[in-house]
């Protein structure tokens, strides 16, 4: 049984079918890439998988701890609670909160303080806060953000904001991490660092990663499997080596050649 099983998912916006009969699966501790030309429906697919928008038809099932959860009609909140976390292509940090608070906020559901404990500042409150901060600091250190802990998120440089998005998603302790163009706007050096980092967190936290990316060096270095999406449909799937030589993929990316 696969960790995440997606069957015949369709999403229509009015007359436009953005995602058309997509089936895919993710296994435990896999690193999978989702690629495709602009407008292929990659982000829409992410939104469907994380419950941001409802599917028109199809089925999404999560199998973990020898239990099955039907995610098809669940809310984004519930899906996040079940261990599917994500970043956003257009960066959606909590801009007016500090870097530390961004990370702590993502831990909301994993720690319980209790209303009265917080109001009366009982010893338990300080203990929980302390545990949360230690956990957050650990994550920030991995992403080299410790020095920025008290900076407001909106004041960070673009590339750093992208890294913070990943930290925040990790702070929810996900089982599956969805990364929407994590390297967008980064220079080659930063991209190389990020590639290492993604590999590291995937093994360190034993999670499954599905990432959308246009940077082929990153995709080919990282992904164990690749799905190619074109015009809302899965065009091809396979290992990076297979995808590189797949004529259908080349055609979709380069357009129909006349030769």
């Amino acid at each position: 049984m696969h960790l995440l099983q997606v069957d015949h998912v369709v999403r229509k916006f009015g007359g436009l079918t953005a995602v058309n009969d997509v089936s895919l699966h993710l296994d435990d501790q896999e690193l999978v890439a989702l690629i495709g030309p602009n407008g292929a429906g990659k982000t829409t697919l992410f939104n469907l998988l994380t419950g941001m928008i409802p599917v028109t038809s199809g089925k999404i099932v999560l199998n973990k701890n020898s239990q099955s959860y039907d995610l098809t009609k669940e809310s984004a909140t519930k899906i996040a609670d079940l261990g599917l976390s994500r970043t956003f292509q257009n960066i959606r940090l909590f801009k007016d909160l500090t870097v530390m608070d961004n990370v702590l906020t993502a831990m909301t559901n994993k720690y319980h303080e209790g209303f009265m404990t917080a109001i009366l500042r009982l010893p338990n409150f300080y203990q929980t806060e302390c545990e949360m901060r230690v956990a957050a600091e650990k994550l920030l250190a991995i992403f080299n953000l410790t020095a920025n802990a008290n900076t407001l998120a909106k004041n960070l440089p673009y590339g750093t904001q992208r890294r913070l998005e990943i930290v925040r998603a990790l702070a929810t302790r996900p089982q599956i991490l969805f990364l929407d163009e994590p390297a967008a706007g980064m220079n080659p050096e930063e991209t190389a660092d990020l590639t290492q980092l993604i590999k590291y967190i995937q093994t360190e936290f034993k999670i499954t990663v599905l990432l959308i990316e246009h940077d082929m060096s990153l995709v080919m270095n990282l992904a164990q499997r690749i799905y190619v999406l074109d015009q809302g449909q899965i065009l091809a799937t396979g290992t990076p080596e297979e995808i590189k030589v797949n004529p259908k993929v080349i055609e979709a990316y380069l357009g129909e050649g006349d030769e």
Partner: protein, 292 residues
């Protein structure tokens, strides 16, 4: 049957006044996303302008109406220029508080200048009641309804057919893009305030004729109800605001006529909430979902 018809006539004349007010709210909101709390007070200014020109200089209905509209338009433009324009780039809630301040200023300034007592509105046209098979219609009711309808049609024509109307629509969709293609945003916003405030001024003289009474605080409650009407119809939409105005007028008159007048406000707000829950952007409003 007769009472029903009678109530419909009453509801339509009251509703048409709310509609005129709601239009101004809707236009201003549509273009700068501001709940212009001072709008109800512009209607009060219009009523007072009409009061003075009629009682001092014996203006007739048409000239008094035009005076009220001009006074309304000028005060709208002046208020926008001094109070709202400096805050164009500020948080919206700051502009809202400024609008509340302007409203306080107009209400209390007028109370200070002319006294806070209610005064009776001079009869600009002698009231004649027509009895149509038991249904009483006064010429004033007809005049209110006809004037309001003519103004609404004119407004719709201005918005749909003129260059300024096109600029208004463009600015309300995207002020920056409108500026890029050569629309003078400041002029357009001033024009919108002039237009909306002129309608409020007209509503002021009409309500004076309807209730025969005006006072400096008269704009408060109808102002809020008209905003409710604009929200109900779908803010930013001209037909929506008219429909919302008539709807509020009809609801109020209906609950008054079945003896629940003490609860008429509660019912109006309850209907508002229920409609918003089913149509979160009002009846004619476009519901835009945030993109992920």
């Amino acid at each position: 049957m007769q009472t029903v018809l009678q109530q419909i006539i009453n509801a339509l004349s009251l509703g048409s006044i709310y509609a005129l007010l709601a239009l101004g709210y809707s236009m201003v909101y549509g273009i700068i996303k501001l709940i212009n709390f001072a709008h109800g007070d512009i209607y009060m200014l219009g009523a007072f302008a009409a009061y003075y020109v009629i009682s001092l200089w014996h203006f007739n209905f048409i000239t008094a109406l035009l005076t009220a509209m001009v006074v309304g338009a000028v005060s709208g433009v002046v208020i926008e220029y001094f109070a709202y324009r400096p805050l164009r780039k500020s948080p919206r809630i700051a502009v809202l508080i400024t609008a509340i301040g302007v409203s306080f200023l107009l209400e209390n300034g007028m109370s200070y200048l002319v006294g806070s007592n209610a005064r009776s509105f001079p009869q600009v046209i002698e009231q004649v009641n027509y009895n149509l098979g038991g249904v009483l219609i006064s010429n004033i009711q007809i005049l209110i309804l006809v004037t309001a309808l003519i103004l609404m049609v004119l407004l719709q024509l201005i918005i749909k057919k003129t260059k300024m109307g096109r600029a208004m629509r463009a600015v309300s969709v995207d002020p920056e893009a409108a500026e890029l293609v050569g629309v003078n945003v400041n002029h357009t916003i001033s024009f919108t305030f002039a237009l909306g405030s002129a309608l409020a001024g007209a509503a002021g003289i009409l309500i004076g004729m309807y209730y025969n009474q005006i006072d400096p605080l008269m704009g408060m409650t109808p102002g809020i109800k008209a905003f409710v009407a604009a929200v109900l119809g779908g803010i930013g939409s001209v037909p929506g605001a008219s429909l919302g105005g008539f709807l509020i007028g009809i609801l109020e008159t209906f609950f008054q006529s079945i003896g629940l007048s003490a609860y008429k406000d509660a019912v109006v707000y309850l209907v508002l909430i229920v409609i918003l829950l089913f149509l979160p952007a009002g009846i004619f409003g476009k519901n835009t979902e945030e993109k992920v």
